[in-house]
Amino acid sequence: MNQNKNGTKDNKKYILMSICSVLVFLFIWELVTDVLGIFKSTMLPSPVKVFGTFIDKFTNTKPDGATIQVHTLASLKVALSGYLIGVGIGVPLGIAMAWFRKVDCFVTPLFDLLRPVPGIAWLPVLIVFFGIGLLSKAMVIFLSAFIACVINSYSGIKNTRMVHLWVGQTFGATRSQLLFKVAIPTALPMIFTGLKVALGASWNALIAAELLASTKGLGFMINQARGIYRPDIILVGMIAVGITGAILGYLIELLQKLVMKRGWRQ
């Protein structure tokens, strides 16, 4: 009992420390910018100013021609279209590569050729093909998401315990039953890991793509702000990107809980 009480007391202490740590961080940031002026606001704006700009950006379309909501939606549209296609093709392909020997032998070498090239490197090729519209950016994101999905679904299926397959076989399961009732459920945690990794990769690629070729979107906003030395807008953009990414990540987490709530051990 004694230990238990100590435990919760300790936890409270640590939570308090965490809160203090964030506050101290913000305080020091404010101190070195606004108060002491060590960093000029063209280098590092104060947290107060960043917060102000953030609020302001909801209504103000200057200097990049749109409010933050518009930019976020534009980014989301590109990112999600690329991401969903990447998942839609990547996950089934990864599963097929791991399950069917012929597909494995034939596709894996080709995939291994593609794998080490980061998605963003294809942007120039895609721009030549499709111009600097949504399509080429969505393709970059598609490639980034696709690779992560294939790798994770592939190793998820490959990790299926042979014993489980044998059990299935002795009960007379057909090959497709084995795939859908044994292998895919085993691979689900890995597949979800793949979805999360793919999300991070696509979000990252999106920003790079928008920095390079875009007329709207959060990456574009950040890039414009750099040109006119407004680091406060850069930071606002980064925060918006971070928050949106975190929300998307949380949604996948939620989806995973929904799908895997029955009988999966964590």
């Binding site: 009992m1 004694n2 230990q3 238990n4």
Partner: protein, 251 residues
């Protein structure tokens, strides 16, 4: 002369959802120098907890433990524990594991290598000095565990069902090996087991323990000549006697 191990009125409780859960209820144990003391009991009767408490890895709720006359409060080299499933350092080779204790005490490399080699030879693992634990079989790992503890020259060796996870054949073999090692270099050993033959084969004294909370039911002195014969009439008689006092409901 007082014993090598003296446990006085040990009580151990764990905090639980419905109040405290008593695992050990007022146990007092004494072991003489170079004696093999076997704690025999079935299932989950707190034997592991008792050894961990003696080794200083778990704090006692009340009671006192003395090793070689000194009170024991924290884990240290005077008490060596051989685990149920070997807790070896997976990143160290056999040699690295065995020489770990002396190394921590700052013994020179040459000296501790020689010493470790001696114990590796003693447990019969010559030739496997450079193998990592994941390359060894279960029995070999337990041998490394024993050599590691022996090499550290503790006053007391605590063994927590060290052969429990081995197959029957290896288990007999390891019992004989342990006896041989102990005959070569005598130590005070507290050995926990749920196997009655193992208990009688090794023990100078057997303490029969009851199930949760753990208390000592009865003590048996075993003075059959060593090495013992599993089929001798005395052995079988003792075996019968111990079996009769173990509550079948606990098994």
């Amino acid at each position: 002369m007082s014993g090598m191990i003296q446990c006085e009125h040990i009580v151990k409780k764990f905090p639980g959802v419905n109040g405290d859960y008593e695992v050990i209820k007022d146990i007092s144990i004494e072991a003489k120098k170079n004696e093999i003391l076997v704690l025999f009991g079935s299932g989950q009767c707190g034997k592991t907890t008792l050894l961990k408490v003696i080794a200083g890895l778990e704090p006692v709720t009340s009671g006192k433990i003395f090793i070689n006359g000194k009170e024991k409060t924290a884990p240290g080299p005077e008490c060596g524990l051989v685990y149920q499933t070997t807790v070896l350092f997976p990143w160290l080779t056999t040699m690295g594991n065995v020489e770990y204790g002396p190394k921590m005490r700052g013994m020179s490399k040459k000296e501790r290598r020689e010493k470790a080699q001696h114990y590796i030879d003693l447990v019969g693992l010559r030739g496997f000095e450079k193998s990592f634990p994941n390359q060894l079989s279960g029995g070999m790992r337990q041998r490394v565990g024993i050599a590691r503890v022996y090499c550290n020259e503790p006053d007391v060796l605590l063994m927590d069902e060290p052969f429990g996870h081995l197959d029957a054949q290896t288990r007999y073999l390891m019992q004989e090996e342990l006896e041989r090692i102990w005959q070569t270099e005598k130590r005070t050993i507290v050995f926990v087991t749920n196997n009655i033959e193992e208990a009688l084969y090794l023990a100078d004294r057997v303490l029969v323990m009851s199930n949760c909370p753990a208390v000592i039911k009865k003590e048996f002195k075993v003075d059959l000549p060593r090495p013992r014969d599993y089929t001798s009439p005395e052995f079988l008689r003792l075996r019968q006697e111990i079996t009769s006092i173990v509550d079948p409901a606990e098994l």
